[in-house]
C-alpha cells in the first residue's frame, strides 16, 4: 500500500495561478523516490468481522456471547455432577429412615461455626417466635443433615440429588421422544404430503385439541403411578411440538434443488429424508428439543403434586415438593432445597435453549 508522505513543490511561480489543465499543473510537481513508503507490509490483514467460518464455529461464537446461556450450561453441568456424586457423599440412602431424627434443620460441618446452617430454626409457638436447635436439645451433636431431614427422618440432601436423577432421566426421555417420534412423524408427514399428510395432520389436530395434562392425568389413572407410567405419558404427549417444527422445515426444504439432485441420482425417500434434509434442519431440531426438556420436567412435577408421582420411598423433586408443602410454614427448609434445584434446572434449560436458538438460527425472529 502506498501512501503519500510529502510532496515537494518545485513550482517557481510565486502567485498561484488558476489551474486550467491538470496535465499542465502536474508537470510542475516532481515526485521523488522517498516521497512514498510502504505501509502494513509486515502485517497479515484478515477481515475478522466477515471472515468465512464454518457454521458450527460461527454458532459457537454467537453462543459464547450470550452470558446467560453459558452460565446456564455450567449450572446444568454442576447439577448433573451433584446428581451423580451427591447421594454418595452422606452416610444415608434416599430411603434411610430415622424417626428419632425427624424434622431437623440443615446443619453443615464447618459452616455451623459461622452461625449459618448450624441446625437452628425459628419456631413460632403461640404467636411468639423462638430460636431452637434440635441437634443440641436432642444431644445429637455428631449428626449432620446438610439440607435437613424430613418428617420421617430421611436426609434431604440425599433425596434431593436422587430426585434430580429422576428429573434428568425425564429430560433424556423428552429428548428421545422428540428425536424418535416427533421428528420422524413430522418429516414423514411433510415429505410425502397429499393424503398421508392430511390424515397425519388430522391426528395431530385431534391429539392437540385435548389438553396435554388431561391426557397425562387420565393415562396415569389407567396405568399405576410410577416411573414407567410417567415415561409412557411423556411418549404419548411429547412429540407434537417437534412434529410441527419438523414438518414446517420439511415443507420449506423439500422443493429445493439439492433434494431434486439427490432424487435424480436415484436416492430413495428414506435417504433423502434422513441424510439429505435432516442435517439441514439440525438447528431448529436441537432448539425444540431443549425447549421440551423443562416442559417434561414440569409435567413430572405436576403429576407428583396431584399425587401421581413416583411411589414412596423413591424421591423425585416433584414428590419432595408436594410432601414439603404440607408443612412449609413450620419447616421451610424441607421444600426450599428441592424447589431451588428444580427451578434452577428448568431456568437453565430454558436459557440454554434460548441461547442455542439465537446461536443456531440467527435469522429466526427474537421471541
Amino acid at each position: 500500500m502506498l501512501r503519500k508522505k510529502k510532496v515537494q513543490m518545485t513550482e517557481t511561480a510565486s502567485a498561484p495561478v488558476p489551474v486550467t489543465d491538470v496535465e499542465e499543473y502536474l508537470k510542475g510537481i516532481r515526485f521523488q523516490e522517498d516521497d512514498f513508503e510502504f505501509q502494513h507490509m509486515d502485517e497479515d490483514l484478515i477481515d475478522t468481522n466477515f471472515a468465512s467460518q464454518s457454521f458450527w464455529k460461527d454458532a459457537y461464537m454467537r453462543f459464547k456471547k450470550n452470558k446467560g446461556a453459558v452460565i446456564s450450561f455450567f449450572c446444568i453441568l454442576l447439577i448433573i455432577l451433584l446428581a451423580i456424586v451427591g447421594p454418595n457423599m452422606t452416610p444415608y440412602t434416599y430411603a434411610t429412615q430415622d424417626i428419632k431424627n425427624q424434622n431437623l434443620a440443615p446443619r453443615v460441618p464447618g459452616l455451623e461455626k459461622l452461625g449459618i446452617l448450624d441446625g437452628s430454626e425459628t419456631v413460632k409457638a403461640s404467636g411468639v417466635a423462638k430460636k431452637i436447635n434440635k441437634y443440641i436439645s436432642n444431644k445429637k451433636t455428631d449428626v449432620y443433615y446438610w439440607f435437613g431431614s424430613d418428617s420421617l427422618g430421611r436426609d434431604i440432601w440425599t433425596r434431593t440429588w436422587t430426585g434430580t436423577r429422576i428429573s434428568l432421566y425425564i429430560a433424556v426421555v423428552a429428548v428421545l421422544v422428540d428425536m424418535l417420534f416427533g421428528l420422524s412423524y413430522g418429516l414423514i408427514s411433510g415429505y410425502f404430503g397429499g393424503k398421508v399428510d392430511m390424515v397425519m395432520q388430522r391426528i395431530v389436530e385431534i391429539v392437540n385439541s385435548i389438553p396435554t395434562l388431561v391426557v397425562v392425568t387420565l393415562m396415569m389413572l389407567v396405568l399405576s403411578p410410577g416411573l414407567t407410567s410417567i415415561t409412557v405419558a411423556l411418549i404419548v404427549t411429547g412429540w407434537i411440538g417437534m412434529s410441527r417444527i419438523a414438518r414446517a422445515e420439511m415443507l420449506k426444504l423439500k422443493e429445493r434443488e439439492f433434494v431434486l439432485a439427490s432424487r435424480t441420482l436415484g436416492a430413495g425417500s428414506f435417504r433423502i429424508i434422513f441424510s439429505e434434509i435432516f442435517p439441514n434442519i439440525f438447528g431448529p431440531v436441537i432448539t425444540q428439543t431443549m425447549f421440551s426438556i423443562p416442559h417434561a420436567i414440569f409435567t413430572e412435577a405436576f403429576l407428583a403434586f396431584i399425587g401421581l408421582g413416583v411411589p414412596s420411598p423413591l424421591a423425585s423433586l416433584g414428590t419432595m415438593i408436594s410432601d414439603g408443602y404440607k408443612n412449609f410454614t413450620t419447616h421451610p427448609y424441607q421444600i426450599v432445597f428441592p424447589l431451588v434445584v428444580m427451578s434452577l434446572l428448568m431456568l437453565s434449560f430454558t436459557l440454554l435453549a434460548d441461547g442455542l436458538r439465537e446461536a443456531l438460527d440467527p435469522k429466526m425472529k427474537e421471541m
Binding site: 385431534i206 385435548i210 395434562l213 392425568t217 387420565l218 389413572l221 396431584i306 415438593i321 424447589l339 431456568l347
Partner: protein
C-alpha cells in the same frame, strides 16, 4: 367466511365426540362395576343392569352416555361424596374456579401488555431489562414456585393476605392465587407484545405515518398498538388452558374449593367418574376457546380467512 366457520365447528364437534368416546372407553376399562356389593345376587345385578341400560350393546350405551352428557347429567360420584350427582358437586365449585381464573386472565393480559409496551418503547433501558427478567422467570418457573413463595412471605410472615382460602373474605384470599396463576400469562404476553411492537415500530407504514406528521400518543396508539395487539389473541387461548391446569396445583396449595382441587381429590381417592367429568369439562373449554380464537382471528385479519378457505 361462513364456510370456514362451519368447517371449524364441524371439526370441533367431531373432536368432542372422540374425546367422549375415549372417556367412555376409559370408564369401561376401569376396574370394578357400579354394583360391586357382595350382597347382591346374580339376578339382582341383572335387574340393576337392565334398569341402567348396562345390558344393551356397547354402541347403544355410548349413545345414551352422549345423550346424558348433553343434558348435563354426568352420573354420580363414587367415593368423594357417595351417590351425589356430579353436576351438583360442580355447581358450587365452578363459579369459584371461573372467578379466580378470570381474574388471572384479565390481570395477566393487562399487566403483560403494559409491561411489553413499556419495554418496547424504552427498549434497551432498565424497564426493558425488568421485562426480560420477568418473562424469563415467568415462562420457566412453574406457577407453584410463585404461589409457595408468596404464601410464605406475604401470607405467613407478613400476614397481609389469608394463607388459605376463606369464603368470608373472598377477594383478599383470591389475590395471591390470582397473581401466582397470572405469572405465566404476564411473562408470555409481555414477551410477545414487546416483539410484535418492536417489529411494527420498525415497519414502513410507521415511517409513512411519521412522515405525514403524526406524532406522540396518536402514532403509538392508533398506528402501532392496533397492529401489534392482534396476534396476542392467539397466545391468550393456550394461556387460558395453562391456567386451568395451573389451577389444579394452585387450588390445592391455597385450599380453594374449585374444580381443580376437586379433580385432585378425585384422582387421589380413585373417583373415576368425577375425574373423567372434570377432564371432559377442561377439554370442552379448551376446544371452545380454540374455536373462538380461530373465528375471531379470521374476522380481524382477512389474510388468515382467505388462506384457509
Amino acid at each position: 367466511m361462513k364456510k370456514y366457520i362451519a368447517k371449524r365447528m364441524f371439526v370441533s364437534i367431531v373432536t368432542i365426540l372422540i374425546i367422549l368416546l375415549l372417556l367412555f372407553c376409559m370408564l369401561q376399562f376401569m376396574p370394578g362395576s357400579p354394583f360391586n356389593d357382595e350382597k347382591l345376587s346374580e339376578a339382582q345385578v341383572q335387574v340393576l343392569n337392565q334398569k341402567y341400560g348396562l345390558d344393551q350393546p356397547i354402541v347403544v350405551q355410548f349413545v345414551n352416555y352422549v345423550k346424558n352428557v348433553v343434558k348435563g347429567d354426568f352420573g354420580v360420584s363414587y367415593s368423594i361424596s357417595k351417590n351425589t350427582d356430579i353436576s351438583k358437586l360442580l355447581n358450587t365449585r365452578l363459579p369459584v374456579s371461573f372467578r379466580i381464573g378470570g381474574q388471572a386472565v384479565v390481570f395477566g393480559a393487562i399487566i403483560g401488555i403494559m409491561l411489553g409496551i413499556a419495554a418496547a418503547l424504552k427498549s434497551g433501558t432498565w424497564i426493558d431489562s425488568i421485562c426480560t427478567i420477568v418473562s424469563v422467570l415467568g415462562v420457566s418457573l412453574p406457577s407453584y414456585v410463585f404461589a409457595l413463595a408468596m404464601a410464605y412471605f406475604l401470607g405467613y410472615r407478613a400476614n397481609i393476605f389469608p394463607l388459605l382460602y376463606n369464603s368470608a373474605e373472598a377477594f383478599a384470599s383470591s389475590v395471591m392465587p390470582t397473581i401466582a396463576l397470572a405469572m405465566f400469562s404476564i411473562a408470555t404476553v409481555a414477551r410477545f407484545t414487546r416483539t410484535e411492537l418492536l417489529e411494527v415500530l420498525d415497519s414502513d407504514y410507521m415511517l409513512l405515518a411519521e412522515s405525514k406528521g403524526i406524532t406522540g400518543r396518536t402514532l403509538i396508539v392508533r398506528h402501532a398498538l392496533r397492529n401489534a395487539l392482534i396476534p396476542i389473541i392467539t397466545v391468550l387461548a393456550p394461556l387460558v388452558v395453562d391456567l386451568m391446569i395451573g389451577s389444579l396445583v394452585i387450588e390445592k396449595i391455597f385450599s380453594i374449593p374449585g374444580i381443580g382441587s376437586l379433580m385432585v381429590t378425585a384422582i387421589q381417592s380413585n373417583d373415576y367418574n368425577v375425574t373423567i367429568t372434570i377432564a371432559f369439562i377442561y377439554s370442552v373449554m379448551y376446544i371452545v376457546l380454540m374455536l373462538a380464537v380461530d373465528i375471531l382471528y379470521g374476522v380481524i385479519d382477512p389474510r388468515i380467512r382467505l388462506a384457509k378457505e
